[in-house]
Subunit: 134 residues, 2 copies
């Protein structure tokens, strides 16, 4: 089973434009072509696209993903570099989650204040005192 660029785009919620752009940037160095020059995606390629999307959606830049792809193309001797890169990135993702949870607390507190303004003075000392009182 193989897939066209539009099928893959649909599957991952991207546009064909974006997939070609990723290809052009070197993020997909091993996508095959059919006899008329069209990109042909295999199941294995789909796994790779999933990995690219995962890295992108967790904030890795295209430049870094290209570095990762380049290392993958170079074979086994780059395993250590790849492992280090993923371990570093993992830390960043863990930090992102922690930061988001912290921010969520402030958002929750703010919503609570709107539901019960009394809480504002008690809990925080009057955020927006100035604006709310105008």
């Amino acid at each position: 089973m193989t897939y066209t660029i539009n099928e893959v785009a649909d599957k991952f919620g991207l546009s064909a434009h974006t997939l070609r752009f990723y290809d052009k940037e070197g993020l997909m160095p091993f996508i095959g072509r059919g006899k008329s020059g069209n990109r042909v995606f295999t199941e294995t390629d789909l796994n790779w696209v999933a990995m690219v999307c995962c890295l992108k959606d967790t904030g890795m830049s295209i430049k870094e993903i290209k570095q990762y792809a380049d290392w993958c193309m170079q074979g086994m001797q780059t395993i250590d570099e790849r492992k280090t890169m993923l371990a570093d990135h993992r830390k960043q993702v863990v930090k992102q989650i922690a930061d988001l949870k912290k921010h969520l607390n402030l958002i929750d507190w703010k919503i609570a204040v709107y539901d019960d303004p009394e809480k504002a003075e008690e809990m925080y000392g009057g955020l927006e005192k100035k604006t709310e009182s105008t």
Copy 2:
């Protein structure tokens, strides 16, 4: 106690340029000025900057934050709009956290594969079979 733009920038890990940019975009409509025209930040203003940073860091666009700021300036009659906006945004943040956790699983799996390649075939069916074998 009041603060200069550079003190605030330091406190929040932003540049003074960025704070002025936010001000220009209407994200800080109530920052006072000293007699020579310099921005003067109060403790209350710091709380507001914290809120802006929270919204920005959780993916809200400057345009949306401006909308929120505008509503804050209009006073009590916009409480409902603000509450709705924050509740909607809260949902998005919760989703971001869930998505990041999901992505983290793939990253963890991939790291595990690098540590013990045997797992690849068992768990996933050979991601990167093509690239690893070249």
